[in-house]
Symmetry: C2
DNA sequence: GTCTATACAGTGATAGAC
DNA sequence: GTCTATCACTGTATAGAC
């Protein structure tokens, strides 16, 4: 009996291995152990091996954020979209117990292959948030500042939470950032 | 002709390799290539191998921050110490072109051996900053919030700068954080 | 499609010549 | 103290049985 039958289904499992051990630390033995899929089958799903796995995992994450964060910010009523962003972020990162794989890969310059994907993820996030803030009436310069501050703050909160082992620190960080945005929107 | 003769002198070079490639990616061949020291000599300096190297590198970084940031925050006139912290941070991280190795190691849970050192680094930073803010007249709860926000913001700014390739983003992040602290101190 | 068997390079680590 | 030679092992990757 196997729980996984489609390549798409393996991505979340493989993603967790990359998250826990980083790119170099995510070895085939750890991936087979976690997924229950042998090396041979993994190469059947991902003919180009580890690099292809990582690329698909990144694309998977990107699609999630595109659907749950970036697109709402660009399309929905801005205040509601921002509120939705905070909910999505707390949910996705398990209230600080889960780190950002894109951030992890960003810190590792071993493989420039992913540089564009990583850069695009953060730039689109900042841009979408900025434009939502502008649509909500915030000045362009201030909106850019706030958006950079929020996206950077989220990453930093994840690092500190993971480092100290206190997930609550991430939740506090998000609350502070949300409050600052609210102040700006109502003030 | 060799430029390095003492173990202490090798640490900054080895640290850069860990910074660029992460713990797993920092292989002996890369370290020997960067330092010009053979494996045999590296094991002479660090009998316990890579793990000992990483431990010494972390201790080296910790000592630098202790001397240039934490101790000044605890001892000097608080406003001046905070200003010194921003200078030290911009300087140490090369205005956003260099990442935080402690942050990189924090994201990697391969080796719990360093967990305490990593945790201590961030906790002492937050605590020292908080106490300096308290000595400068900020309320305890607000000081704790601000300190967490600053240390997390620095880490996040480094991640975003590295990801986007725009070091200037880190400088802006630091400026924003410094302005917020200044507001609190004068307001 | 899934697996086992295997190739081959590179890993951390050790021994020993000088 | 510094290096080279070598170790056992694990890494990614491939071939091929079923």
């Amino acid at each position: 009996m196997r729980a996984v039958f489609e390549r798409q289904d393996t991505l979340p499992l493989i993603a967790e291995v990359f998250r826990e051990f980083g790119y170099e630390g995510a070895t085939f033995s750890r991936i087979t152990e976690r997924t229950g899929i042998s090396k041979g089958s993994l190469y059947h799903f991902f003919p180009d091996g580890k690099e292809e796995m990582a690329a698909h995992v990144l694309a998977h994450i990107d699609a999630w954020f595109e659907a749950h964060v970036f697109t709402p910010l660009a399309r929905d009523e801005p205040r509601e979209a921002v509120a939705q962003m905070w909910r999505a972020v707390l949910d996705y990162f398990h209230s600080g117990r889960r780190i950002c794989l894109v951030g992890v890969f960003a810190m590792d310059e071993t493989r420039d292959v992913f540089a564009d994907a990583i850069k695009g993820y953060f730039q689109r996030w900042i841009k979408a948030l900025k434009q939502a803030l502008v649509r909500a009436g915030v000045g362009r310069a201030r909106a850019q500042d706030l958006a950079e501050e929020c996206v950077a703050g989220i990453q930093g909160g994840l690092v500190i939470s993971r480092a100290t082992g206190e997930a609550a620190q991430f939740v506090r960080t998000v609350r502070r950032l949300a409050a600052r945005v609210d102040d700006e929107l109502s003030g």
